[in-house]
């Protein structure tokens, strides 16, 4: 794909401001110290970032199959600053900015300690996320990714809800550390191969690396390393070991929403791995499909056995991410579109579920299913929003999950035949099973006898958070066309690399 410079569409470098604003905001907040005013300033910055993301979407030309808003700054050696956005980037930038904005409001509702520091951390994570979304330079990707995960680990430990937080953080760092190591190694091998082949200086730029020929063995090695690194992040079966522990013992909503809401692992696959290693991707796709198919059912089965809502959602994520993988690795335009949209849909839906669970936790101080129940009478809006998110995950018509899942199934029928596709669709019904069951236990079942007083009704801010999420899910569900348009051109171009037009 070609590049269009930012001067074509915007008055100022939009991508740079998207990355710098939250980082600068985080630094400012840390300097100001604790207090209600800095916290509100942080929320304002998060809101501003969301506006910038919307502006980016507004200026973005969906019909041009080119990277847009590109910026280039020659920094010494292989560290050149090079960014650009395609439709997928815009989609994920919007999603990330929305999620962080809502999280900053959520922190107010929950009344967590050291609020300003929390919001500063959120903003820093957001900035690093934007770096990963926008950059073409794989070194930048690796560095930002490592920093982001370190910060999220801090978030998990510092604002944990369980005394076993050390277990959660150590597991998180061990899994992610290994993943990062693999990712770094893969990136270095790619850069080394480029220098070996073309000579000259080191480069880690996606557009340079994409043109280099790799021997099949080397390509396979790189694919394995990158796939492992991104797979741990996503997470996909069988690299998901950290998720249930972190979900259960870490924060209720903060870290899970950041990690699972914006599925950077899948984004990395589409943006970097697919264009860089098309042959290896094609060669290894049957194995990935095998893992994905197993993951759908394995995680669904485990989810059914959970007694804790948070762990249940954790396994549900693994199950659904596998379905998105099925779409991506079908490697045709329809499947790629479906996979990317499904990743965004699941991200939004899971964030919604986590946030609603957090609002419930605020009242019950527990997410154990046997301690919940009797909530729907008291907090119907929170329950309804949770339910809408369940439906989005299941792929019910009227939610963004439907069109995305339906694209994935269309691609799957074509690539793998009807039978495996029916299997995947039934896996989705299994997912519906455990989500409906969990929803019923948590919200509709009678309140447990041990609960002394009825739970507090929703505050205005809670209504706002739940309402925004419900409205976004439903409008995107009933009016999917703009999102389809957004990812169509880049995914068609990408599919071209795999011989599909």
């Amino acid at each position: 794909m070609t590049e269009l410079y930012w001067t074509d569409h915007a008055a100022w470098p939009l991508l740079a401001s998207l990355q710098l604003l939250p980082l600068a905001g985080a630094a400012l907040l840390l300097r100001l110290g604790e207090g209600p005013l800095p916290a509100w300033l942080g929320r304002g910055i998060a809101a501003l970032e969301l506006l910038l993301a919307i502006l980016l979407y507004d200026r973005f030309d969906v019909h041009a199959a080119a990277y847009q808003f590109a910026e280039y700054l020659p920094l010494p050696g292989p560290f050149a600053y090079h960014v650009g956005a395609d439709g997928v980037t815009v989609l994920f930038v919007l999603l990330g900015a929305l999620i962080v904005f809502l999280l900053s409001l959520y922190s107010l509702v929950r009344g967590l300690h050291q609020e300003t520091r929390l919001i500063a951390t959120l903003l820093a994570v957001e900035g690093l996320m934007m770096v990963q979304l926008c950059t073409f330079n794989l070194l930048w990707l690796v560095a930002a990714s490592a920093l982001e995960l370190a910060l999220v680990g801090y978030l998990v430990g510092h604002w944990a809800t369980s005394p076993q937080k050390d277990l959660a953080t150590s597991r998180f760092y061990r899994f992610q550390g290994l993943g990062q190591l693999m990712l770094t190694a893969g990136v270095l091998v790619l850069g080394w191969a480029h220098r070996d082949h073309f000579g000259g200086g080191w480069t880690f730029d996606l557009l340079d690396l994409a043109s280099q020929p790799l021997t099949p063995r080397l390509a396979a090695l790189c694919f394995f390393l990158l796939f492992y690194g991104l797979g741990v992040r996503t997470p996909i079966f069988p690299l998901h070991g950290w998720l249930p522990t972190v979900a259960r013992h870490g924060n209720v909503a903060l870290a899970p929403a950041l990690l699972l809401g914006v599925k950077l692992g899948l984004y990395g696959l589409v943006r970097f791995v697919f264009p860089l290693l098309p042959e290896a991707v094609e060669a290894w796709s049957p194995f990935v499909m095998g893992f994905a198919a197993t993951g759908v059912f394995y995680a669904a089965l485990l989810a059914l056995q959970q007694t804790n809502l948070r762990a249940l959602i954790g396994f549900a994520v693994v199950s659904h991410t596998s379905l998105a993988m099925v779409g991506l690795f079908a490697l045709d335009p329809v499947g790629l579109q479906g996979g990317v949209l499904l990743a965004a849909n699941f991200g939004l839906a899971v964030t919604t579920m986590m946030l609603m669970t957090g609002l419930v936790y605020r009242r019950t101080r527990s997410t154990r299913l046997d301690r919940l129940g009797g909530l729907f009478d008291r907090i119907p809006m929170i329950g309804l929003t949770f339910f809408i998110a369940c439906l989005a995950i299941v792929g019910m018509p009227g939610t963004p999950g439907f069109d995305a899942a339906h694209l994935v199934l269309e691609a799957a029928i074509h690539q793998f035949g009807a039978l495996p596709s029916v299997g995947a669709a039934l896996g989705n019904v299994a997912a519906a099973g455990f989500l409906l069951w969990a929803f019923q236990r948590a919200f509709l079942a009678p309140a447990p006898a041990a609960r002394a007083a009825p739970v507090e009704r929703a505050t205005g801010l809670e209504w706002f958070i739940a309402g925004v999420l419900a409205v976004v899910l439903l409008t995107a569900g009933f009016h999917m066309a703009p999102w389809l348009d957004l990812v169509e051109a880049p995914m068609r171009a990408l599919a071209g690399r795999f011989g599909h037009v």
């Binding site: 045709d332 018509p397 199934l409 269309e410 029916v422 409906l436 019923q440 509709l444 999917m480 066309a481």
Partner: protein
């Protein structure tokens, strides 16, 4: 002609939102009745504007919905679907009236019913297969809540989840069937995916299809609709829901046979060759369901379970009418489905009246109802007789046509159906004797009051409709006929 169907469909979600506005929760029910009143006016406008001499879809409104995938918002009615609109609105109105004094969360209850009504009407109006699928799935959700929160039985949560899961699983083959049809469309017009996809029923009906694909599509659609009908052995959710679900609202499941409608509307016309090849399957499922439902109904000791099984039996008869693949058969089948809304729906609403008074519809709690509630007993008898197909009721012409058609094409099945009707008389009359006649066996029955004016008005309207269309069935049959003729013409 301007679009009437879209306002009708939009009215309900708007009403569901508006139900949260009135200051007192009880006022939500008045608002719901008002919404249905408006809807009745709109459906009257639809009927008035409907040209019964035309074969195709009328009042079609179409807008591109997801152009990238070839999905349209397209609604329209023809002779097969138009009668279901007023019938649906009436039945929903009946449900609101029958659960007038719902205590728990009344606002939510009435707004969920309104949403369900909108989705159900959408099922009857949709002309795009994916729009149909949207409404089909949307109609599950309000019911999930209705059953979970207002179910009458102790296992309501289980019943609600089971119902929703079974229906979602049934949706999978439907979706695949529709996708295969769209793929075929893309292959025929030579455009790639997703540009060539079309889910438009009118266009799909004109697209030729290879024979083996037709078989697959028919079997997928049949499977999807069979779950909803329900057909033996996929019926287990219905008796469970009848016992555990919200009593008044379950009449929507027994009264509106969406599965059978789907079979007539989509499965057979879209795969006519395969459907005809598999006439034995349809007739076999129909006969078996008819007899099984009747025998099972004989063994029931609870009014609601009995009505659920009798519904199973009735839908078997409809299947037989479809399997005949001639004009009489399909006309009878559609007429019978429309009748059900009043007869089966009415019977269930009346058992809701009983349940409200006695807290149970078990035969142990009944007995001698006719002494203290003569009007209720009288109307119940009328509906029971109508359900048995007594001449003078609108069920009679429908059953007669189906039987005539079946005796011509599947003589054995027709004879079995006759036997099934005798069984039907047996279980209905036996039930009636035990529940309504005899001495008053229960103290609650002795002190219960007869039909209130609101309830009386409701059953009176239903009864008059049954009587009127029993005496003048041609008025309905003429509406159905052109579309039914077109339906039959596709088969040859």
């Amino acid at each position: 002609m301007s679009d009437v169907l879209t306002p009708l469909l939009l009215l309900y979600p708007a009403g569901a939102l508006a139900a949260w506005l009135p200051p007192r929760a009880e006022q939500a029910r008045m608002l719901a009745v008002g919404v249905h009143g408006l809807a009745l006016i709109l459906t009257a406008a639809v009927l008035a504007g409907f040209d019964p001499h035309q074969t195709g879809f009328q009042m079609v409104a179409r807008t591109a919905w997801i152009p990238g995938l070839g999905i349209d918002y397209a609604v329209g009615v023809d002779g097969i679907s138009v009668l279901f609109l007023p019938a649906t609105v009436l039945l929903f109105l009946g449900v609101h009236l029958a659960s007038w004094h719902v205590r728990q969360l009344p606002r939510l209850y009435h707004s969920l019913l309104l949403l369900q009504a909108g989705a159900t009407l959408g099922v009857f109006c949709a002309v795009d297969t994916l729009l149909f699928f949207l409404f089909w799935e949307l109609s599950l959700l309000p019911f999930y809540f209705l059953a979970s929160l207002w179910g009458a039985g102790p296992h309501r949560n289980y019943a609600a989840t089971q119902y929703t899961l079974v229906m979602l699983a049934g949706g999978v083959p439907l979706l695949f069937g529709f996708l295969l049809l769209a793929f075929n469309q893309a292959a025929v017009n030579g455009l790639g995916l997703p540009a060539g996809l079309s889910f438009d029923l009118i266009r799909l009906l004109d697209t030729p299809m290879p024979a083996d694909l037709e078989w697959t599509v028919f079997l997928l659609l049949l499977l999807g609709f069979a779950v909803k009908m329900p057909v033996f052995p996929l019926h287990t959710w219905l008796p469970l829901m009848a016992m555990e679900g919200p009593v008044a609202a379950v009449s929507l499941l027994t009264g509106l046979k969406l599965g059978a409608y789907g079979l007539i509307r989509f499965a057979v016309p879209l795969a006519p060759g395969a459907a005809q090849d598999m006439h034995w399957l349809l007739a076999g499922l129909g006969t078996f369901g008819l007899l099984y439902g009747a025998v099972a109904a004989l063994a029931q000791t609870n009014l609601r379970a009995l009505l659920a099984y009798s519904g199973l039996s009735h839908v078997g008869l409809v299947l037989l009418g479809v399997a005949a693949f001639n004009l009489q058969g399909v006309q009878g089948a559609v007429l019978q489905l429309v009748n059900f809304t009043a007869v089966a729906g009415g019977l269930f609403l009346m058992s809701a009246f009983l349940h409200q008074r006695l807290g149970s519809t078990d035969l142990l709690a009944l007995g001698g109802v006719a002494h203290t509630m003569p009007r209720l007993a009288g109307f119940f008898l009328f509906f029971v007789l109508a359900g048995m197909g007594l001449p003078g009721s609108s069920v009679f012409p429908a059953e007669f046509m189906i039987l005539m058609a079946t005796l011509q094409t599947h003589t054995g099945a027709g004879l079995a159906a006759l036997f099934g009707l005798v069984l039907g008389a047996a279980y209905f009359l036996n039930l009636y004797r035990r529940a309504f006649l005899g001495p008053v066996g229960n103290a609650t029955v002795a002190v219960s009051r007869d039909l209130r004016p609101r309830e009386l008005g409701l059953v009176l309207v239903f009864a008059l409709l049954i009587l009127f269309f029993g005496l003048f069935p041609t008025s309905l049959l003429e509406v159905i006929r052109p579309a039914a003729e077109a339906w039959v013409a596709r088969l040859s």
